[in-house]
Subunit: 204 residues, 2 copies
């Protein structure tokens, strides 16, 4: 059996990543989602094990010490990270798994798993990005400028990714991601066993 694939997905605020994931996992429940381990307190509406595993700082630091994370980050005094074990378990079972990260996290995972396929979600234009980041028009120009600056810095690093998906129409963007996942199953690096199988007349 072929191994599953690891898909690293990043996109700035305003890329519409969250809605896109909702539609994607509804359409393709066979694709696994990597649950992050985080040390901040649970917020209202959050569910343990849905998007995050809420763990203690001690537990997180143990994971760090034991090299059990593919990437991690510190944000306002709390740790956020991607545990390695569930990702490895999924691909060994032949399942495709998607990891949501920022551009730095993507870089760390690529270094540890060079076979991972990376996808950057882009807003369709500067104008549309600004419109999305302006929210309901209640924000100051300064806040919007700051958000624009952060998103544009991430977009400048889109060149580090294998694929770019423009999120203009949500259903088209979801289909694009599904196509990337499907076609990556045909990549040479996923199919070396198969070539050996035919050459040596053994079932793969």
């Amino acid at each position: 059996m072929n191994k599953g694939g690891v898909f690293i997905v990043a996109g700035p605020s305003g890329s519409g990543k969250d809605t896109l994931f909702k539609v994607l996992f509804k359409k393709r429940p066979d694709i696994k989602f990597s649950i992050s381990s985080i040390t901040r307190a649970m917020r209202v509406g959050e569910v343990e094990g849905e998007k995050y595993n809420f763990i203690t700082r001690e537990k997180f630091e143990d994971m760090l010490k034991n090299d059990e994370l593919l990437e991690y980050n510190v944000y306002i005094g709390n740790y956020y990270g991607t545990p390695k074990a569930p990702v490895v378990a999924a691909i060994e079972k032949g399942e495709d798994i998607l990891i949501e990260v920022d551009v730095n996290g993507a870089k760390s995972i690529r270094e540890k798993m060079p076979e991972a396929v990376s996808i950057f979600i882009m807003p369709p234009s500067y104008k549309e990005l600004k419109r999305r980041l302006s929210g309901r028009g209640t924000e100051s120009e300064e806040v919007i400028e700051k958000r624009m600056h952060e998103s544009l810095s991430e977009i400048a690093r889109a060149t580090e990714f294998d694929y770019i998906v423009v999120n203009d129409n949500i259903n088209e963007a979801v289909d694009d991601i599904i196509e990337i996942i499907q076609s990556s199953r045909l990549m040479l690096k996923r199919q070396k066993n198969l070539i050996d199988g035919v050459l040596n007349n053994v079932e793969s």
Copy 2:
């Protein structure tokens, strides 16, 4: 507008490549097929400009001199080659073009066009390859062994390709190729303009 993509497709005798192409181009007439220039005489049933352009040896040697071929080969005293101009014209117009070649031709094109995506068509198994190459059972064991040897030598070089498509079920194999073509439109190398467009607030 984004440029089109170049898809180099190779596969040994017994891979079922010819039938696969017929179904592919019927399903997706928007995908162009690169017409080879050859110097051998036209055979019964062949049509000028369909799969081949039948040209004189002098014309072919001029093309060689002027570096107008992406790859070429000599087979039983005749030249076979892929002219560069129609491939460049297609991708400039934003069209995807497929070039059928052998493993050596694929290597030459990859060197001249590193952005090309290469696909190897595989028979599903050693057994099935042997069955396909045995034809109607009228061939000697020696002829079959020779064919097997040639096909297996090509399969051993499948590792030089980006993608492997197993041709077990013809419709699935055609859909695999279409998925590779679709997803390659999302590859970073095809979309650099787009990133610059969003960063600099210009329409791409």
